[in-house]
């Protein structure tokens, strides 16, 4: 599904990713954990194609394609989805409009016909129920005036509508209370399947209580220092990140 090799990326003059390798297969859930400033969000940005992050070395292959050569919208249409750490408020652009435009763009790519108004509404109602969101959110500006938790739910709502092949969730758990976390995790879990890979970028182990990962990676200093199963996350919670860094230095 996704193969990252020797990825180097920088923002301005600041080198952030320094030779990152990661292999993700269909159906797997990977958690990427690490201290602040380790490069977690930069990795998510590189995958989604955000301007301002320069890849200086390395390759990213997505379903056999050169992901880095693709425009952000082409990545989205090909099934890559980034749930933003800080979803942008866009007053005046209707939430329903965005959902519909995004969904039809993805469907077109998959060779499916556009949904008509009724089909769209039926689908979005269903997904909103899953995310415990009121239908009034449809007629509001994208994320406009949403609380932190509402914004994160809206991200997962979009994800549920678009059914991506590769979903990258950038600190989706940050700023969520326990109830919202459960709703968000429930939404994500409903999308788990053999065809879909999920990357959870997170600072805390908390989210992993609800979304059980197949692999846990420790990202520090721009590289993956250690990979394990979910027990690694628990260990990190208990011991912090220092020991991983020390272990890496010794090795």
């Amino acid at each position: 599904m996704l193969s990252i090799r020797n990825l180097h990326a920088q923002i301005g003059d600041r080198k952030i990713l320094k030779g990152l390798d990661l292999e993700i297969h269909a159906g797997e859930v990977h958690a990427i954990m690490g201290p602040n400033g380790s490069g977690k969000s930069t990795l998510a940005s590189v995958l989604a194609g955000r301007a301002g992050v320069d890849v200086t070395e390395g390759r990213v292959e997505y379903l056999g394609q050169d992901l880095l050569a693709m425009e952000p919208e082409d990545r989205a249409r090909a099934g890559v989805f980034l749930a933003f750490q800080y979803p942008v408020e866009i007053p005046g652009v209707n939430n329903a409009y965005l959902l519909k435009a995004a969904l039809n763009a993805v469907r077109k790519q998959r060779g499916l016909s556009e949904l008509d108004a009724f089909e769209f509404l039926a689908l979005v109602r269903d997904k909103m129920k899953l995310m415990q969101m009121d239908e009034s959110f449809l007629n509001r500006g994208v994320n406009e005036g949403f609380s932190g938790g509402e914004k994160k739910r809206n991200e997962i709502l979009q994800m549920a509508m678009l059914e991506p092949k590769l979903a990258v969730l950038d600190e989706t758990d940050s700023g969520l209370d326990i109830d919202a976390l459960r709703v968000v995790a429930n939404g994500v879990n409903s999308l788990r399947g053999p065809e879909r890979s999920i990357v959870l970028v997170t600072h805390y182990q908390r989210l992993l209580d609800y979304i059980e990962p197949d692999f846990v990676h420790v990202l520090s200093g721009g590289r993956i220092l250690k990979t394990g199963d979910k027990s690694l996350a628990l260990e990190l919670e208990k011991r912090g990140y220092d020991w991983v860094q020390q272990e890496a230095r010794v090795a």
Binding site: A51, P72, F84
Partner: protein, 429 residues
């Protein structure tokens, strides 16, 4: 002020002399108005209100006076009732078959004069502001005055006044429209300026009197060809507890200058002046909005959104003056501007002058580009860059368009914006 060169002035004087026959009754008012124009001349950059708008191109042209006789192509009507003015003359043959809305009366200058109306009032030239000279030229050269009266205490159905020019031929026209809303009336009037691609000068004056407890909702659209010079002075004087609402869509003309001026002359008078402008291509659109608070407890709102693209240029000047004694007044101003391409330019200047101490005033102006974070967000959901830009640009004008509470007018504005933005976006792809 700059006196116009003798030859240029001579051209307008000849047009004025040609007007005299058939307008004997108003000769004195017209002669005084022409003298005023001759004294003030065309504006120079150093004249107040003309810093960013040069009329040199206009000065180089010698437009004949339009005849008002040729064919015009009329677009679909935006209201059940429509009046049509061509080259400044009311064309009853082109009016909608339905009568005017109940409670609304229309007269020409001649009829109004015969009824004992004051010519001095109908042809008055108010002083001050950058377009006084053109208002004077209009008073001297207007072939007619279209006088609309809204009877006291009526709620009139919407009326469209289409202000057009005869097709194909270069020329100049000086339409003049006077709207008088009597006490307690409510009216909704669409004033749509249209023109084709011929080169011409349209020098319009719209004079609105809002009586006590009356409300006038004016929906103004300028949608003429890229070779039109359009100059307009739109003034409203609002009486006690009266309300003047202007919804303005300044979409085009090659060079346009609008002076929109509200005088809140009596206690509790109010004005809401909102609008948008779109300067794409090589259009130059200049909007000056001015509110005078002359009495206690008057209230004004100015909210304009502007877009410039290509080599387009826009000027927005919003001013509110709270005069001595106009206590407990409120003046709010917002000017937000969007530059879609690097070569475009918008000069915006909000101004507040306050000569009273117990008032609430605010103003703000911003000029920027589409938010890159929002663009990326939309693209990351699968929208093309073009679709994302289009959505954000529509959102920008949406706040003003959604306030246009006459559905066919608002839809026409949306359609015009969409068509123009689509053309713009194509050039970026």
């Amino acid at each position: 002020m700059s006196a116009a060169p003798a030859e240029l002035l001579g051209h307008y004087r000849a047009a004025f002399e040609a007007m005299r026959a058939g307008h004997e009754a108003s000769a004195a008012q017209r002669a005084a108005a022409f003298d005023r124009f001759a004294t003030l001349g065309f504006p120079a950059a150093r004249d107040e209100g003309w810093k960013y708008t040069s009329l040199r191109r206009l000065e180089s042209r010698r437009f004949p006076v339009g005849a008002g006789a040729s064919d015009v192509t009329l677009p679909a009507s935006l209201a059940a009732h429509r009046l049509v003015i061509v080259d400044g003359q009311l064309r009853s043959d082109l009016a909608s078959p339905g009568a005017l809305p109940a409670g609304v009366r229309v007269r020409s200058l001649g009829q109004a004069h015969a009824d004992g109306e004051s010519l001095a009032a109908l042809l008055r030239v108010t002083q001050g502001g950058g377009t006084e000279r053109f208002a004077a030229l209009n008073a001297a050269l207007c072939p007619d005055v279209v006088l609309l009266d809204i009877a006291a205490h009526t709620v009139a159905e919407p009326l469209e006044v289409l202000v057009a020019t005869s097709a194909g031929e270069p020329g100049m026209s000086h339409p003049r429209l006077v709207i008088r809303a009597a006490a307690g009336s409510t009216s909704r009037i669409i004033v749509r300026h249209l023109g084709d691609d011929a080169e011409r000068l349209v020098n319009a004056v719209v004079d609105v009197e809002v009586g006590p407890d009356a409300a006038v909702h004016l929906y103004r659209m300028l949608d003429s060809g890229a070779r039109t010079f359009h100059i307009e002075r739109l003034e409203a004087t609002v009486a006690q507890r009266g309300l003047f609402v202007a919804h303005d869509a300044q979409l085009g003309a090659g060079l346009a200058r609008l002076d929109l001026h509200a005088r809140l002359a009596a206690p509790q008078a109010a004005a809401e002046l909102t609008g948008l402008f779109l300067a794409d291509g090589t259009r130059h659109l200049d909007t000056h909005v001015h509110v005078d608070h002359l009495a206690v407890a008057t209230r004004s709102l100015q909210d304009y959104r502007g877009i410039a693209a290509g080599r387009g240029r826009a000027v927005f000047n919003g001013k509110a003056v709270v005069h001595v004694g106009a206590q407990q007044s409120q003046a709010r101003q917002t000017s937000r501007n969007l530059l879609l391409t690097p070569g475009a330019e918008i000069d915006t200047k909000p101004e507040l002058e306050i000569y009273a101490d117990d008032v609430q005033c605010s103003h703000g102006a911003t000029t920027g580009q589409l938010d890159p974070a929002a663009l990326f967000y939309l693209r990351s959901r699968g929208l093309t860059e073009m679709e994302a830009r289009n959505a954000l640009t529509r959102a920008f004008t949406g706040a003003v368009v959604s306030r246009m509470d006459h559905a066919p007018f608002a839809q026409r504005v949306r359609d015009a914006l969409d068509a123009r933005l689509a053309a713009l976006l194509e050039t970026w792809s």
